[in-house]
Amino acid sequence: MTALNDSFPTTAIDIAWNVRNNVVRATEVVERHLAQIERREGDIHAFNLVLADEARARAAEIDDAVAVGRDAGPLAGVPIALKDNMCTRGIPTTCSSRILDGWRPPYDATVVTKLREAGAIVIGKTNLDEFAMGSSTENSAFGPTRNPHDTTRVPGGSSGGSAAAVAAGFAALSLGSDTGGSIRQPAALCGVVGVKPTYGAVSRYGLIAFASSLDQIGPFSTTVADASLLLESISGHDPLDSTSIRQGPLDITRQLDFGVAGLRVGRITDLPEGASPDVVERLEQAFDALREAGAEIVDVEVPAFTYGLTAYYLIAPAEASSNLARYDGVRFGNRVEAPDTNAMYTATRTDGFGAEVKRRIMLGTYALSAGYYDAYYGRALKVRHRIADDFARAYERADVLLTPASPTVAFHLGDKTSDPMSMYLCDTYTIPSNLTGEPAMSVPFGTGDDGLPVGVQVLAPALQEAMMFRTAAVLEQRVPR
């Protein structure tokens, strides 16, 4: 998709190598990406905010550092777009919600600090479904993002802006957040790589919470190697996140070209139906490609997989209803004035939240309310345990699993907006990994109906990112033409 032509570096690895070795200047890298944004952003609307001045200033700092022989970092000069639910100090962070429009956070998310230390350049804040609730980026208070491959179609969601930004060549890398598939589904629909790491591998400090036991930050990129580099740069223990795993950064890149010889790749025989034939065909070709590369394909069962959707749509709204209680017009964001505090809370929330956010808050409040807690939230938590047990059994027979990332290629804007349940079904194949906390990623694997991108999902046990990336790297090399 990228229009950065000639021999100028486009991948993060190439850009960083060239900048670090003083072959190209970070300022030129930034100007080329800003020019691409200028050309196509009007049609795509990937960004809530483009940080042109800040990016130029940061690029000049990096060029100065290189000029005096300082190490400019593993991501030196690489433009990166951030989903607009990650806090950036003094820079507006909206969650694509009117309730936070204009709010400037008093601190940076840990990932933002780590990116700065690695030499990356934040080029903008990307559009999302409001508070990351949605699968099409149509639930944004600031209007939808469009798919760079076909602007009559959605980019997926909720990290649709981040996926579109990389697919359109606006940034070499981006970060999204994934609560039920919000990185992997848009990655599949936009034809880029998207990764949900193991829960706790990347700090959530400064990621505005949707469902705290499910949320995880992860990378988008055009290549598997770029995603690996970015994930290594943002992972590792953070004392500011009490759920952060107590270990160092993930170690992936070193093993990226180890191949899949002898690896056991699982096919889930009782996977929920609903994937369209073009997607199923690519999945079969992915199994074939891995078999040809030396992997052993094994059948596994995950009987509770099919109940993931229900468990998720009770647990995630329950957590959201609690997390979003903080938007009451007192400490941050917008307020609608009223004579007393209770009236002010209600007026502020009624005016500030969009329809989908209200729907999920109400569903979650209901699932947690007296008399229904055991029947809904309590049972959903038990189903979650059942799903985790089923995956643990499957991983006794297989090292990684393969499924579709999205049931279909990108759909048209407006296709699913009137029926929430049809939108929720987009997450069928991605949800279980959030419930279990295990890593999963979508890797582009050819095209489907109407020539649109198809993504294959690779799933792995907790902290087995290296094995997952090895599998994805083989698929990347064997993409059907």
Binding site: R104, P105, P106, Y107, Y199, G200, S213, S242, T243, T306, Y307, T310, Y313, L314, A325, D328, V330, R331, F332, G333, R335, E337, A338, P339, D340, T341, N342, A343, M344, Y345, T346, A347, R349, F353, K358, R359, I361, M362, L363, T365, Y366, S369, Y376, R379, A380, L381, K382, V383, R384, H385, R386, A388, D419, P420, M421, Y424, L435, G437, E438, A462
Partner: protein, 102 residues
Amino acid sequence: MVVSDRITPEAVAKVAKLARLSLSDDELQHATHQLSDMLDHFADIDALDLDGVTPMTHPTPIANVMREDIEMDCLDRDEVLAAAPAAEDGRFRVPPIIGLDD
């Protein structure tokens, strides 16, 4: 839309009040239909035998996390208050708490 009666408009109104959301009559009817449809779909887990299964609230075992008792920087008060809708004398300013609500 298939109309289900898994949840009543009265129950939805109560939930909205708990969540500090105000719904018009039309919105209440619409929300009732949508929530009923969702609960219909979510009834697929009703048939599961979950006796003896422990609820799983979190992907990893959670324990209290303590840190060394040393002085650390915290957020700048003025910067925090500058991001609030209203502040006065170093505090968040809100309308009266008692008196006018039902």
